[in-house]
C-alpha cells in the first residue's frame, strides 16, 4: 500500500483495537465525515508502517508530495532516493519538474507565504 504523506487515504475496517492504536499510539488524523485518515507532523510513521503491514499483510510505502504543484514528488525516481529516509524527513518535497524550473526557490517561498496567510 502506498501512502502519500499529509494527504487523505482510506483503510478497510480494521477493528476497534487497531483503530484505537492508530489514533492514540500512531497519532494518525481521522476525518469522521469523509472517513479518511491523514498523516500529520505528529504521526509516528515507524509505528504506522509496522502496524499496517502487519494487519494488511502488505508492505507500506511512503511517498511525499510536491509542495509547489501538489503532485506526487516521485520518490522512486529521485536522484537522492538512496540517502533519503522518508520516515525521517518532513512531509513535502519537490517534483523533478518543479525543481528544474528556473525560479523554483521563489515559487516555493511564495507557496509557503500563501499557505501561512
Amino acid at each position: 500500500m502506498e501512502i502519500l504523506l499529509g494527504e487523505p487515504f482510506r483503510l478497510p475496517r480494521l477493528g476497534e483495537d487497531v483503530f484505537r492504536r492508530l489514533m492514540r499510539d500512531v497519532r494518525l488524523e481521522y476525518d469522521r465525515q469523509k472517513r479518511v485518515f491523514r498523516t500529520t507532523t505528529q504521526t509516528d510513521l515507524y509505528q504506522l508502517s509496522t502496524l499496517l503491514s502487519e494487519v494488511l499483510k502488505e508492505p507500506i510505502i511512503y511517498t511525499v508530495k510536491c509542495f509547489i504543484c501538489g503532485s506526487d514528488a516521485g520518490c522512486t525516481s529521485c536522484e537522492y532516493s538512496n540517502i533519503c529516509d522518508r520516515l525521517l524527513v518532513s512531509q513535502n518535497c519537490l517534483c523533478k519538474n518543479c525543481l528544474n524550473k528556473e525560479d523554483a526557490y521563489t515559487l516555493y517561498c511564495m507557496r509557503v507565504a500563501e499557505t501561512s496567510l
Binding site: Y46, Y80, I83, S90, N92, C93, C109, T115, S116
Partner: protein, 400 residues
C-alpha cells in the same frame, strides 16, 4: 559563518517542515495571554532557532533568548526569567521569551530547573517558545502536555539542493554541481551542516571536509530504528554512537523494543541473549572500574544486535507493558500517580521509576507477610482508601 550570514530573515525563505513552520507562525500571530507556550521539537540544524527569530521579526517581536543548557539552575533561571513574567513590553517593543535546548537541563545536577520552567510557562504574560532536540527525553515528555507541540524533521535532500542552488546563484559562488550533490548527500537532512559544508568546500575544495560539518546527535528513537532496520552494519554502529543516551537507557530501550515486537521466540531468545551479554559487560565495567572499556560498548552492542535480529521487524518502543498491565494503568492511573509520587519521594527516585521498578518488589515482599502485618504497613504508608485499594490489588497479584 555562512550559517549566520545567510540566515533567512523571513520564515517563508526557509526550506522543509512547511506544516510545522506555518503552524508556528499562526500560533504566534494568534497568541493571546493565557495561551499555551510553543514547543519546537526536532533534530539539530533544521532551523528551529532561525524560525523563532524570523517569525518574531516578521510579526514585530523582540526575542529574549535563554539557552536552558547554559542557564540551568533554578536560581539562575529565576533571576533571568522572572522579570519577564511581569512586563508585556520594553520601550514599546513586543517581547517573546525563547528557551532553547530545554533537553539540555540535567535533572540531578540542575535540580529545580525543570520545575521552574514548568511553573514559568504557566505564569508568563509573554509568548514563550521552547526548543528541544529529543522528543523521547524525560524532561521534554513532562513538558509535552503543557505546550502546543510543533514537530520538526530533517529536510528532504531535494529541498537542501534547492536552497543551496538559489544561494549559489544569488551570491555568484563558484562551485560545481557535483560538489553540491556531495554536500547534499553528506548533510543528512541538516541544513546547517549543508551550509557549513558549502563554506568548507569553497575554502578547500576536497570531499574530506564534508565529514566534519555535520552535527551527529540523534535521538534514542532514531538510533534504535536505524539499529533495527539498517542493512549496513557500520551505519547501525554509527547511529548508536551518535546517540547521547546513557548506556543503561540504551539497553532498557532495546529490551523494551524487542519484547514489544512480534518476532519469533527463537529470534527473540537470540536477541535477548546478545543484550544480556552487553548488560553483563556494563556490570563488569562498573565492578572493575575499567571505564576505558566503555569505548567498545556501542560497537559491541550494535554488532551483536545486528547479527541476532532480522532487519525491519523490530521498531523502537520504550514502554513494553502487556495489554493487561496497560489497562490497569489506565484505570488506576490517577491513584497510581499519587502512589508513585509518595513512593518516589521516599526512595529518592522519580515517580515513574518508583512505579515501574520498585512497586512490584514492594508488593511482592508484602505478599510474603501476614495479612495484618501487610495492612499495618500499608496504612502507615497511606490513609487514602483508593490508594489502599490499588496497593492491595498489587499485593494480591503476588499472593495468588
Amino acid at each position: 559563518m555562512y550559517t549566520e550570514k545567510f540566515r533567512p530573515k523571513n520564515p517563508s525563505m526557509m526550506v522543509g517542515n512547511e506544516e510545522s513552520r506555518i503552524g508556528f507562525i499562526n500560533w504566534l500571530r494568534r497568541w493571546r495571554k493565557g495561551a499555551k507556550p510553543a514547543l519546537l521539537i526536532g533534530p539539530p540544524g533544521i532551523g528551529k532557532t532561525t524560525l523563532v527569530y524570523a517569525a518574531a521579526e516578521s510579526l514585530g517581536y523582540v526575542v529574549l533568548e535563554f539557552n536552558a543548557s547554559d542557564t540551568r539552575t533554578k536560581e539562575r533561571l529565576s533571576s533571568s526569567l522572572t522579570p519577564s513574567t511581569h512586563s508585556l513590553s520594553v520601550l514599546g517593543e513586543k517581547l517573546l521569551v525563547f528557551l532553547d535546548e530545554v533537553d539540555g537541563l540535567y535533572a540531578r545536577q540542575d535540580y529545580g530547573g525543570l520545575e521552574f520552567i514548568q511553573g514559568f510557562i504557566e505564569k508568563s504574560n509573554l509568548p514563550v517558545v521552547l526548543a528541544a532536540n529529543l522528543e523521547d527525553d524525560e524532561k521534554v515528555r513532562k513538558l509535552l502536555p503543557k505546550c502546543e507541540v510543533f514537530a520538526f524533521k530533517r529536510v528532504p535532500p531535494r529541498l537542501i539542493h534547492l536552497y543551496l542552488k538559489s544561494l549559489i546563484e544569488r551570491e555568484q559562488l563558484n562551485i560545481t554541481i557535483e560538489s553540491i550533490n556531495k554536500i547534499v548527500e553528506h548533510s543528512g537532512g541538516d541544513i546547517r551542516a549543508a551550509l557549513n559544508s558549502l563554506q568548507a568546500v569553497l575554502a578547500s575544495p576536497s570531499s574530506e571536509v564534508l565529514e566534519v560539518a555535520r552535527d551527529k546527535r540523534v535521538s534514542l528513537r532514531d538510533a534504535l530504528n536505524t539499529l533495527f532496520n539498517s542493512s549496513d552494519r557500520e551505519e547501525a554502529k554509527s547511529a548508536l554512537e551518535a546517540c547521547d543516551a546513557d548506556i543503561l537507557e540504551k539497553i532498557h530501550a532495546i529490551y523494551s523494543s524487542l519484547v514489544q515486537s512480534k518476532v519469533e521466540s527463537s529470534v527473540l531468545l537470540r536477541s535477548l541473549l546478545a543484550l544480556s551479554a552487553a548488560d553483563e559487560l556494563v556490570s563488569r565495567i562498573k565492578r572493575t572500574q575499567e571505564w576505558r572499556q566503555l569505548r567498545y560498548f556501542n560497537a559491541m552492542l550494535s554488532h551483536m544486535i545486528f547479527d541476532a535480529t532480522p532487519r525491519g521487524v523490530v521498531q523502537f518502543s520504550q514502554d513494553a507493558y502487556p495489554w493487561s498491565i496497560q489497562l490497569r494503568i489506565w484505570n488506576d492511573a490517577r491513584v497510581l500517580r499519587s502512589i508513585g509520587r509518595k513512593l518516589g519521594s521516599m526512595l529518592h527516585t522519580s515517580s515513574r521509576e518508583a512505579l515501574i521498578v520498585h512497586l512490584p518488589y514492594l508488593a511482592y515482599l508484602l505478599s510474603r507477610l501476614g495479612k495484618d502485618e501487610t495492612q499495618r504497613i500499608l496504612r502507615e504508608f497511606t490513609a487514602d482508601e483508593s490508594e489502599l485499594r490499588v496497593l492491595n490489588k498489587e499485593v494480591a497479584r503476588f499472593s495468588k
